[in-house]
């Protein structure tokens, strides 16, 4: 690869202007003539049979144009083919406080709310399950009749032989870790505008990360062929996984629009966003780790229970990730995993940034430090001694093609001043270290098929403007810009010449969606292939005219020139005009499907974890701990992330810093607090996202391992740095005040309790 003009340059996002002028449109900014306002009635009971729903009074209210109940859309659905257990509006049972029971469309939001007050639901409350460990023991009143003992799924995997591994170890440690529930809290509350078109079609504008899955589900639930439904993604105000499933309002708005034959918009209140949830579950990790005195890990064993809430969602995938990605960060010969996804009467959990890996990683990286202390090893050195030798395949069949972790570790150790600072920062101050990794998309699609995961088209017509059509969903992470950069680089044009049409099912080919960090790798590769095809179409006629090989030509600075500098020089516009002779508009297509070798093993559950490539991250965090209040202040973060190649360093930095921030929030202050299935803090005042005052400047370092299969060598950047932040903080607290906190969030109360316990123990010891 020669010198590049666009790739690798810090570039403002292509939609930045729309965002800073306030002129860009998000779903709730849209309105159309005749639009109705939809509202949803939620269950006040955590678990109740629904005997009847009486909507007569609501329907009679002036201004009400449609009322829907479970009977209007009885088709069950769910993001996974094995988990079609949701209905947009409950038919027989409500399964959590906030479950959806009826919906109304009216001429104003006030009338719609008034109508909700008029709906009479006859509930028969049932015993409910709130604690996952209790729920697993349930003998009756199962949340879904088909799911015995409220266990959604369990998996048991064993690679190598952990018994032998532990026998070889000089130090073996076991501990339990608990992580509270957290949620995405994207700033934009979900919103959907469903427009019933005069030609009996449905157009749905929605704040989604997965237009394609939404398209499929709407077709099933609204009983309309996909060809009569169009899903359009406007600007999306953040997702982080919270918009990567079908969210009830998307279906409810569509059902209401079809029923009323009018456009219907539903925008969630912030409280409803908390009930829609799909966030990171309460996770209980029982971990056992063995190392030799030289610091080689001999075995790891984890039993992980996730409190999934009332519906399946992505649940089985979440729990599988937590097991599969115990591997592929370090070289561990023997790994055993028992995973349980449990149902409880709370809002459904799902995929949240770092899907499945985060809480398991917290446990693992905490324990590495605990065991390093036991063995008298420097925590960074312990990590150094367990590196993989890429390329390689892990015992559970994950293929590692590029591995920048060693460089991440060294650069963070150096920049943070690890060696000088550990144990030496003085009273109440400490430094902690941790690593993490993540997939660049799942090698196996949710809906099994052998079709490519994504297709990108490019069209050039007489204006010589380049239009790229991609189904990929920009949600703030920079995917639109990524497409533009790739095409501009390959065709040697200025990015301004490239126009992107994205995420509109009527215009753009299918892309599976923005989740599990798949877009740069997969849509990027498809885009790269399409651009290369287009390049061939343009260069062919030029080569013929100049009687040379296309290989002799290059495209740069809006011209086609000979590589050796002699002979050919033709402007891009002229070259396009030449190529169009006898052809008309130029059209090129590119696709991407992960290679067979990347698709993993053959055992049950092997489908989750394999990825065409993995990103790596290392972090050092400095904290200050107030011994009397237990308050922890994060003062400095240095995070290195191996993203293969930074197509746009500006957005890679932004993704890494944002991931660290989200991890920091989970580490010290974010938690959904439950009392009997009731969410005590469904608001931004009480679910506390860190403000600027808790957030130092985060120092990000980009490491480029140049992945052999990624587009220009690129891989994941948007999630992998989250997981390391949490254990790095826990480890820093240990360095600061000598207490090991195994429960997250690490609240002042928990720190204080641990400090007091330590004092007591020391007093006891002194006696």
């Amino acid at each position: 690869m020669g010198e590049m003009n666009v790739i690798g340059k810090r570039m403002a996002m292509t939609d930045a202007r729309a965002k800073v002028t306030g002129l860009g449109r998000y779903a709730d900014d849209l309105s159309v003539p005749g639009m109705l306002y939809g509202r949803i009635l939620h269950s006040p009971h955590p678990h109740a049979r629904i005997r009847s729903v009486d909507t007569l009074a609501a329907e009679a209210l002036e201004g009400v144009k449609a009322v829907a109940t479970g009977r209007d859309a009885p088709t069950p659905y769910g993001i996974l083919p094995i988990g079609h257990d949701e209905r947009v509006l409950a038919l027989d049972k409500a399964r959590y406080i906030g479950d959806n029971v009826a919906a109304v469309a009216a001429t104003s939001p006030e009338i719609a709310e008034e109508a909700l007050r008029l709906i009479r639901v006859d509930y028969e409350p049932l015993p409910a399950w709130f604690d996952p460990l209790e729920s697993m023991k349930a003998e009756e009143n199962w949340i879904h009749e088909k799911r015995a003992h409220n266990i959604e799924k369990e998996y048991h995997h064993h690679f190598g032989n952990v018994d032998e591994g532990f026998a070889q170890a000089d130090f073996v440690l076991e501990d339990r870790y608990y992580c509270g529930e957290v949620t995405h809290a994207a700033m934009e509350p979900h919103s959907t505008l469903a427009v019933w078109e005069p030609n009996e079609r449905l157009t749905v504008y929605s704040s989604t990360q997965v237009p394609f899955y939404l398209h499929r589900t709407l077709s099933a639930v609204c009983e309309m062929p996909m060809s009569r439904i169009r899903v359009v993604k406007p600007l999306v105000g953040g997702g982080f996984g919270g918009k990567s499933e079908i969210i009830p309002l998307e279906v409810a708005a569509s059902v209401l629009a079809k029923k009323a034959r009018r456009p219907v918009k539903i925008t969630y209140t912030r409280e409803e966003v908390f009930y829609a949830h799909r966030g990171r579950p309460i996770t209980i990790v029982d971990l056992k780790l063995g190392i030799t005195k030289e610091g080689r890990i001999t075995a790891a064993q984890a039993r992980i229970v996730q409190d999934g809430g009332a519906y399946c969602g992505y649940g089985p995938v979440t729990v599988l990730y937590s097991g599969a990605l115990l591997n592929a960060l370090y070289d561990i010969p023997n790994v055993k995993f028992d995973g349980f996804r449990v149902l409880t009467n709370k809002p459904a959990c799902g995929a949240m940034r770092g899907h499945g890996t985060v809480n398991a990683r917290f446990a693992f990286e905490s324990m590495l430090d605990q065991i390093a202390a036991r063995a008298g090893l420097d925590p960074v050195e312990l990590r150094r001694r367990n590196l993989l030798k890429a390329p390689c395949t892990t015992p559970n069949g994950l293929r590692v093609t590029s591995y920048g972790l060693p460089e991440c570790i060294e650069r963070v150790a150096e920049r943070s001043g690890w060696a000088e600072k550990r144990g030496k920062l003085g009273k109440g101050r400490g430094i902690g270290f941790a690593c993490s990794h993540y997939v660049s998309g799942a090698a196996n699609p949710i809906i099994r098929s052998n079709m490519p995961h994504t297709t990108v088209n490019i069209k050039i017509d007489r204006d010589a403007g380049i239009t790229v059509y991609s189904g990929a969903s920009e949600i703030g992470q920079g995917s639109d810009t990524m497409h533009v950069q790739i095409v501009a680089e390959v065709l040697g044009v200025r990015p301004e010449r490239v126009n992107l049409v994205a995420a509109d099912t009527e215009l753009t080919p299918v892309d599976l969606g923005s989740y599990s960090s798949r877009v740069t790798f997969m849509a990027g590769n498809a885009c790269l292939n399409a651009a290369r095809n287009m390049r061939a179409q343009i260069l062919g006629p030029v080569a013929r005219q100049f009687d040379c090989e296309t290989d002799d030509l290059e495209m740069r600075d809006e011209t086609i020139v000979s590589k050796n500098g002699a002979g050919v020089s033709m402007s891009f516009d002229d070259a396009v005009a030449l190529a169009m002779v006898g052809e008309g508009a130029l059209v090129a297509k590119g696709t991407y499907a992960p290679p067979e070798q990347a698709r993993g093993g053959k055992f049950k559950g092997a489908g989750v974890g394999p990825s065409p490539s993995y990103s790596y991250s290392a972090q050092a965090v400095e904290v200050k701990v107030d011994r009397e209040t237990g308050q922890v202040k994060v003062e400095r973060v240095v995070a290195a992330h191996d993203c293969g190649r930074a197509l746009n360093p500006l957005t890679v930095d932004g993704q890494v810093q944002g991931s660290v921030y989200m991890g920091m929030g989970q580490a010290v202050q974010e938690e959904m607090v439950w009392r009997e299935g009731r969410l005590m803090n469904p608001s931004f005042l009480e679910y506390r996202l860190p403000t600027t005052l808790e957030t130092p400047q985060i120092e990000s370092i980009i490491v480029e391992s140049i992945d052999p299969e990624g587009p220009f060598g690129a891989k994941e950047a948007g999630e992998g740095s989250l997981a390391a932040a949490i254990p790095a903080i826990a480890n820093a607290i240990y360095d600061a005040v000598g207490v090991r906190i195994t429960d997250v969030p690490i609240t002042p109360e928990r720190v204080l309790a641990a400090l007091r316990a330590k004092e007591e123990a020391e007093k006891g010891g002194a006696r």
């Binding site: 996002m13 002028t21 900014d29 995405h184 105000g237 912030r270 944002g658 921030y661 996202l689 600027t692």
Partner: protein, 167 residues
Amino acid sequence: MTKELIRLKVNGETHELAIAPNKLLLDVLREDLGLTGSKRGCDDSSCGCCTVLIDGMPMLSCVALATSYQDAEITTVEGLARDGELDPVQEAFMSWGGAQCGFCTPGFLMTTHALLEKNPDPTLDQVREALASNICRCTGYTQIYESVLAAAQKIREKRKNEIAISK
């Protein structure tokens, strides 16, 4: 509810509107004036996405009854650019990655604009203090800090040039 006829001056233009007395400024901007740049991110006035300037002061349009601000000069994000030329704050948020999903961006821009009007040379700590009512879930704030400091520098340079020219 009987509507009330009110006069509202937004981005330099005076509008006459018939609105219900319980209507919030944010909703009037978004629904009656089509200025959808200001956003609603929460329901308890704790996120800052709806920030507008009222007589130059950054305030939350989600707690303001529209009828209460008839004599005020209201500026929204749509009013920051002048004659198609972006404000330095907007420019900086573009080039420094201050906007990712963009939903909180209008609020941050308004708060930043007010800060830099008052203090074109803030320290990082002053920036963090000033922005502490605006929540961003994407950036981890770091690129926002960089954007604000870059905008400040641009504004200082611009002022210096203006002074030089007027001499």
